[in-house]
């Protein structure tokens, strides 16, 4: 079990690194999915099988598919890779990396100060989770349902076609290298240029 835990953790971290550094959005998404699956395995080894299943079903299965769906809807293909390449210079990583390193350092200092880091892993069954979810956290569940409802309505409204097409301010097509909107029909158009 311990070995699986460490392997999965390493996979998760590596996949996340790759997610952050990939240029192609779909590739990045795939790495992110792999990272999530690895986290699911970590959950399983930590004694939270229910969470592992949910991680797979909802995170990897639903949220990520939504991402992929949107990527496909926008048809971000090869040209985005070029744009990303131009945007993503190694120098851009320096500042954030320093900040993040400081944060990690601080947090690990805090953790180290607070005592032992060797966890005696205890399994928590879905039964217990459900009991506390519908017991002391009932209000939280209600709030979460409100949140989801709000998100549903919000997403519907923001994404609805009716609000669209009022004004198209400053077409930046010259900068992004896109002649027109990301219509699906455009896929075939840049096919030859992308030939390997």
């Amino acid at each position: 079990m311990e070995a699986i835990f460490y392997i999965a953790a390493i996979v998760a971290v590596l996949a996340t690194v790759l997610t952050v550094t990939r240029l192609n959005p779909v590739h990045a998404l795939l790495y992110l999915t792999v990272s999530l699956l690895a986290v699911a395995v970590v959950f399983y080894t930590l004694g939270a099988p229910f969470m592992a299943a949910l991680e797979v079903v909802i995170y990897a299965g639903a949220i990520m598919v939504l991402f992929v769906f949107v990527v496909m809807l926008l048809n971000l293909g090869r040209h985005t890779v070029e744009i990303e390449r131009s945007w993503l210079s190694p120098g851009a990583f320096v500042g954030p990396a320093i900040l993040a390193a400081i944060l990690v350092g601080e947090v690990s200092y805090l953790l180290a100060r607070s005592g032992t880091l060797t966890p005696p892993v205890a399994e928590v069954s879905p039964h217990q989770v459900a009991l506390s979810l519908y017991g002391p956290y009932l209000l939280g569940v209600e709030l979460a349902s409100f949140l989801l409802l709000g998100a549903l309505v919000g997403a519907y409204h923001v994404g609805s076609r009716r609000a669209q097409g009022r004004t198209t301010v400053g077409s930046r097509s010259d900068r992004t290298g896109l002649a027109s909107g990301g219509d699906l029909v455009r896929t075939g158009a840049d096919r030859p240029s992308g030939a390997a």
Partner: protein, 87 residues
């Protein structure tokens, strides 16, 4: 992992990647909760993870809708393109 997500958030100009980075961060905090819950054998950590899951789902739904809107308006996913609303 949270730090990685953080870097992603700061480095990327593409809204899609930013959203992904936020997902990474949410997931990382969820991981922290679950492992803390496992450490003390409490169900609370998993409950928190469930809430994080709902937050992530809601955030993605709205975020992606906004992304579509941004793209239709600016023909770009560059978040800096949407910096017209200065105070």
């Amino acid at each position: 992992m949270f730090a990685l997500g953080l870097i992603g958030l700061l480095v990327r100009r593409n809204l899609l990647f930013i959203l992904m980075a936020i997902e990474v961060m949410l997931n990382a905090s969820g991981l922290a909760f679950v492992s803390a819950g496992a450490r003390w054998g409490q169900a609370d950590g998993q409950v928190m993870f469930l809430f994080i899951l709902t937050v992530a789902a809601a955030e993605v739904a709205v975020g992606l809708a906004l992304l579509l809107r941004l793209y239709h308006r600016f023909h770009s996913l560059d978040v800096d393109a949407a910096s017209e609303m200065r105070g």
